[in-house]
């Protein structure tokens, strides 16, 4: 479990705080979405989780290890993997397999174990057969997957993704999100940073950040039910959520929070059924 306790962070003593009284917990195997407008401190918070930045005051405990404690830094880095936004700036190797071998090599693992991990992680992210490919010839989506695999080869218990789908086409986004779900399914806790509200629907818990503080927390349903507040933060709720919210605003009797298209279809068709009187085959909407 990761415990963030009263975290405050400033880049310099006299500077205004970037993060301010942040309290949060991330349970083992949990899928946490961290959402907020640009410049709210999401990435800064993420960099605290594996000790790239240390709190000005307050503490972060990862499975009992304090991120300020340099004697456990290596174990901390092993436990919490970070996937940064731009894959070009984190791929170290000239070929895919070399890049994946970088992390395990830093852990002084024997060659046979490194080879096993390279093969395994490439299979997990769906890039089996890419071992010898030069990294600069990969597509944007493939580079992301290599960046994820490179961190995954360290076998972390927590994985932090900083806007993993930015600049990708819809197919590329789906591919990355599927991999993230799959990794969470295998027991790795996920911290998913995004400003795309569509991506928080799958999470167990949502943290909303604004101006360096956690301004809202709860399940995706709870957070998304506060549409007006989200809009005030400059975050657009998923289209179906907003559609139903507007229907409700205009006085229609529909469920308050709807996260998926399926739920929206159900809610709207039951509304139509009720509007068009009671039952009868003719009254049923033609879809």
């Amino acid at each position: 479990m990761i415990r963030i306790e009263n975290l405050e962070f400033r880049y310099a003593a006299e500077a205004s705080p970037v993060l301010c009284s942040v309290d949060a917990q991330i349970g083992d195997g949990q899928y946490v979405a961290l959402i907020g407008p640009n410049g709210c401190g999401k990435t800064t918070l993420a960099k605290h989780l594996n000790g790239l930045l240390t709190p000005t005051s307050g503490d972060i405990l990862v499975d009992g290890m304090n991120t300020k404690d340099s004697s456990t830094l290596r174990d901390l880095r092993r436990a919490v993997g970070m996937v940064f936004q731009n894959p070009d700036n984190q791929i170290v190797g000239m070929t895919v397999e070399e890049d994946l071998a970088f992390g395990p090599g830093n852990l002084h693992l024997p060659a046979a174990e490194i080879g096993r991990r390279v093969e395994e992680t490439l299979y997990t992210v769906g890039l089996a057969g890419y071992e010898k490919r030069p990294t600069h010839t990969l597509s944007g989506g493939e580079k992301r997957l290599v960046a994820i695999a490179g961190v995954l080869a360290m076998q972390p218990r927590y994985l932090v993704f900083d806007e993993p789908t930015s600049f990708l086409d819809p197919a590329g986004k789906r591919r990355i999100l599927n991999v993230i779900r799959k990794l969470n399914g295998s027991g790795i806790a996920i911290i998913h940073i995004t400003h795309d509200m569509d991506e928080i629907v799958d999470s167990d818990h949502v943290l909303v950040m604004a101006e360096g503080r956690i301004s809202m927390a709860g399940s995706p349903g709870e957070v998304l039910s506060r549409v007006a507040e989200m809009k005030a933060l400059g975050l657009g709720p998923p289209q179906v959520t907003e559609l139903l919210w507007r229907l409700r605003q205009s006085g229609q009797d529909v469920r308050e929070t709807v996260l998926t298209i399926e739920e929206a279809v159900k809610a709207i068709s039951s509304l139509i059924l009720r509007k068009s009187g009671s039952g009868g085959d003719d009254a049923r909407p033609k879809v």
Partner: protein, 266 residues
């Protein structure tokens, strides 16, 4: 399209995958053989030059490289070879070869021939190494050869990481340079007009942007590497180099060949 163009620029004279004995050799053997051959080439006279040429062509044949591949390595330097040849031909004192042209001497001709051959042979020798060895193999070979340096507190692992990062970022910087240039062209910049000085100024304005971006990249890269547990000093690798019987055979025969050249002083 842009990426492909940079790809071609980067790969000129670079690794050519072929199923050959030379490709399969331990990179350390190839690096050492190249170094020894290069030193011999620099001291070679006409007779040695002929023998060494045959040896190099034999190496190219064993590597399954074609004349065209060798030509591709030499081509960018044709101008340099011609310049070198003419320089020695015209500016060496000695007996005039033709009474009508006193500048051309017999000594000049032989010096021009041997010096130009030396440089061409060096390029071919280096090309044989880089065309049959991937950059990663080269780096791990150099890393292993430099391990004794830890006696003077220089870590070959750190050197290897530095070289491989530099190589890894070359294609990306080229791509970025083209992007910047095209972004400026699309806003009406003209890199062809004006005197050499104004053109240089325009190009240098691109360079400063590139340098700033590179520093930002380096900063992020450092954080990503730290996040993946990087620390200076020893580390382990996916492939540890191991000398096989073919490696010893080639190593020893190259040594014997060079020793024979000196002993027989051909």
């Amino acid at each position: 399209m842009l990426a492909q163009r940079c790809e071609i620029m980067f790969h000129l004279g670079q690794y050519i995958p072929r199923p050959s004995v030379v490709h399969a050799l331990d990179p350390r053997v190839k690096i050492l053989a190249t170094l020894m051959l290069s030193m011999t080439i620099l001291q070679a006279g006409p007779a040695k030059a002929v023998v060494l040429s045959i040896f190099l062509l034999g190496g190219a044949w064993l590597s399954r490289l074609s004349w065209r591949d060798i030509g591709a390595a030499l081509k960018p330097l044709v101008f340099f070879f011609c310049f070198l040849f003419l320089l020695h031909l015209f500016f060496t004192d000695g007996r005039p070869l033709f009474p009508a042209f006193p500048a051309i001497t017999a000594e000049g001709l032989s010096r021009a021939l041997i010096t130009t051959w030396q440089f061409m042979a060096l390029v071919v020798c280096a090309a044989l190494l880089t065309m049959t060895t991937t950059p990663s193999e080269l780096i791990s070979g150099i890393e292993r050869l430099l391990r004794p340096l830890r006696a003077v507190r220089i870590s070959s692992h750190d050197l290897a990481i530095m070289v491989s990062l530099a190589l890894r970022f070359v294609p990306m910087l080229l791509l970025e340079f083209h992007r910047l240039r095209e972004a400026q062209l699309s806003r009406g910049a003209d890199f062809r007009a004006g005197s050499i000085m104004t053109r240089l100024k325009k190009i240098s304005s691109l360079t400063s942007v590139l340098v700033i971006q590179t520093f930002q990249r380096a900063d992020e890269l450092a954080q990503a590497m730290e996040g993946r547990g990087y620390a200076r000093g020893p580390r382990t690798y996916l492939r540890e180099l191991k000398m096989g019987s073919a490696d010893y055979t080639i190593m020893i025969s190259t040594l014997v060949f060079i020793a024979a050249l000196y002993v027989l002083s051909v």
